[in-house]
């Protein structure tokens, strides 16, 4: 009986809400109750699956979207160092102005980054659908910023005499590629989880 109950609980809790922790806690609780009072009484005391899910899911949803906001905000902050601070202020012959040939891409990357950062910071303070919308904007902004930044970095040695091309191609571009893959993963997962949260 408890196994069926837990199976039903798993089925009804959206996977994106990461309800495994709750199901594990419910199992430990139910088994302990059942040892003292029997399975039937344990299930009666724990409450119907529908009631329990109705009360637990919103809390799980709030937890998921709060975590998502913090992750996106953290990612936005993480992007600043490898994409802007290091290339423009560290690489020889830094510091120097951005070459005019890649100025719009550079401005676009910075603009997308600022948009992503503001959206992610705002999302941490909000709840529900507005937070989901802001998270989507933040992730989209980060992806845009990354793609433009990769372009800027790849072109940098061509337009800035004396740039260390080996550092750009050996460190920066691979790092940006890794971040791009991570951000794409976030694009696929975080909004999905948050949308599931917002539906509840």
């Amino acid at each position: 009986m408890i196994d069926n109950y837990l199976e039903e609980l798993r089925r009804r809790l959206p996977r994106a809400l990461a309800g495994e922790r709750f199901v594990a806690e419910a199992e430990a609780h139910l088994r302990a109750l059942a040892e003292e009072h029997g399975e039937e009484e344990a299930l009666r005391r724990f409450g119907s699956v529908r009631l329990v899910v109705a009360r637990v899911a919103p809390e799980l949803a709030a937890g998921v979207s709060a975590r998502s906001s913090r992750i996106v905000l953290g990612a936005a902050l993480l992007f600043v160092l490898p994409l802007y601070v290091i290339p423009e202020h560290t690489f020889p012959p830094a510091p120097r102005p951005v070459p005019v040939e890649i100025a719009w891409e550079h401005t676009g990357a910075l603009g997308a980054f600022v948009l992503a950062f503001v959206a992610a910071a705002s999302a941490t303070a909000l709840r529900g659908r507005l937070r989901v919308g802001l998270l989507s904007v933040a992730v989209a902004g980060l992806l845009t910023s990354l793609v433009l930044s990769m372009w800027v970095d790849a072109k940098w040695p061509d337009y800035v005499p004396g740039s260390a091309g080996e550092i750009v191609w050996g460190v920066l571009v691979p790092l940006e590629l890794a971040l791009l893959i991570a951000a794409t993963g976030a694009w696929a997962r975080i909004p999905h989880a948050s949308r599931a949260a917002a539906r509840l």
Partner: protein, 104 residues
Amino acid sequence: MRSEVLKGHLDLILLATVAARPAHGYRIVEDLRTRSAGAFRLSEGTIYPALYRLERAGLLTSRWDASGARKRRVYRVTRAGRRELALRREDWQSFAAAVEAVVA
């Protein structure tokens, strides 16, 4: 006791119970029942949303404990939780004294 009366004070009651001793969900429900002499009878599955809410607010913390026969998630009150508990306890005592003065 009517459940709606209890719901209004659930956070205070849970914080006080976990502050008395760190415990997993089942133990918390048992402690609540024992300490209230059977007055507090919650649907056991519905205690977790309140625990999750308190944890998200930074008033409780939890971690898996596998030292016993069964793996369990044990909840503890954080420093912020103790401060919040002290505040809520004061509020409750003032409120209870005022109600007592009016009703008695």
